[in-house]
Amino acid sequence: MTTLTAQSVTVRRGARAILDHIRLTAAVGEFVAVIGPNGAGKSTLLAVLAGLLEPTEGRVDLDGEDLYRIPSKRLASRRAYLPQNPRCEWPISVERLVALGLTPILPAIGRLPAAHARRIEEALRLCDLSDRKLQAVTTLSGGELERAMLARALVGQPEILIVDEPVAGLDPRHALDAMRRLAAYAASGRLVIAAIHDLTLAARYASRIIALASGRAMGDGPTGTTLTAALVKETFGVEACISGEAERRYVDYR
């Protein structure tokens, strides 16, 4: 079973510790929501876990192997990463954008093997974009682009999916859809780690919560028992009111 382990991960910029001795173990099947105020170190933690930013101290292991010693091609075929507000610089078609997710397994030159075309179709269908596949990505709306990027990340069927703020800027319906997709992907036996600002969405769909403030872990555990008014108070400095159960849970602020 695939597990990702971080041991006392610390990232320093100058004297400031952006991440301060973070430790966690996450396994496939989990949907981990990383929450915390702006500047808490969420994006940095995700980049470290994705193998893109080597920590100043501590180490990250994927199945017991040092994440930063795994060849980048091999790692790329096992985990996908989406940064905040992903963009595409050229007006290529949605289909071509999604195909870029297969880069780690494509031959160095030549055209797309036929077997991959089916995976692209499948990813497009999953993200509700089948009718947009020939449209230029630069003409998509914000929500559509977000979905296209998610399809790009899912097309390689990575064991680990790391997404930085996948629902920022989405309208309620698309935000709910995106969270359901991520939850379903985790439930299908993959590990999903996402930074999420909307606590209601995190409370409803994530199986596990990691709360960060000033680079330190304030809480880590199953959503139901971890995401409490006390944790929200401690992490964000606001009084919260948490009600309801599972997919009907609400987090509101006073």
Partner: protein, 329 residues
Amino acid sequence: MIRVGLVNGLIVLLIVLIALGSLLAGRVWLPPSLVWHELWTPGPHLSTLIVTQLRLPRAVLALLVGAALGLSGGVLQGVTRNPLAEPGLLGVSAGAALGAVVTIYFGVADRFTAAAPFAGLCGALAASLLTFALGRGGGTITLILAGAAVSGLAAAGIALALNLAPNPYAADEIMTWLMGSLADRSWIQVNLILPFVLVGGAMLAVTGRSLDALSLGEAQARSLGIDLQRLYVLSVFGTALAVGAATAVTGAIGFIGLIAPHLMRPLVGHQPSRVLLPAALSGALLLLCADIATRLIRFGPELKLGVFTSLIGTPFFFWLIVRLRKAAP
């Protein structure tokens, strides 16, 4: 898929036809029947000499240089994700020009045919090494700024050479060389640059997949397993070898590297890897046509190729900027 093949096929066809035409066109027009007849009859003939020793190497040189410029432009626009990028951007052209100008200044160029091209190549390599050393690890913007700084340095060196020119003839020779031309080049120059253009071209040609991934930005490209350092090394040194060698024998020829990828991009669906081959082919075609035009347009002295491409290219540049401004929010 079919469209990309069709585009490439059409350009190749045009290249063959126009290259054949270029063998006949010039100050002396040669009727095809005469050339064909004399080519197969033994003995030295004037038309055969003109074709094989003057016009054929010139056409081959135009194709090589144009392809190098077009390919490099396509790669650099992909690397920088900036549609205004071109080989001159990395300081390669200016470095090559400075190298060649130094040999002219010291009079070495007159004594050895290979001196100016060789020094030009060294200048291009030195300039791109400096650009890369300055801009390394800082991302695209730093690379572009480093290129601008190195270009500035090389331009200052050229200005200094003009300033201190020992006599008006040397200054005139430098100016003429800077204007860029394919006139009076022979097989010697073709053979001289061929290995460099081939090696540099190969380095540029293998960047396709990385360029595609890079259209998602550096973070996503790295997450897809792309080695960005390798990409930068291949594109900078590939450009230094291919364009540096080309500039070293022809002088500065601008805008081909800017225009060629642009013309092709909409035809092949904008994907950076698919732009590369058509950009190389259309660069070759454009330069071939431009060279024929300089031979046919006559008002007084010969129009220099570099001047001609700049005259044609600058309005295109203006149009690009206006279009980019409209596209911006």
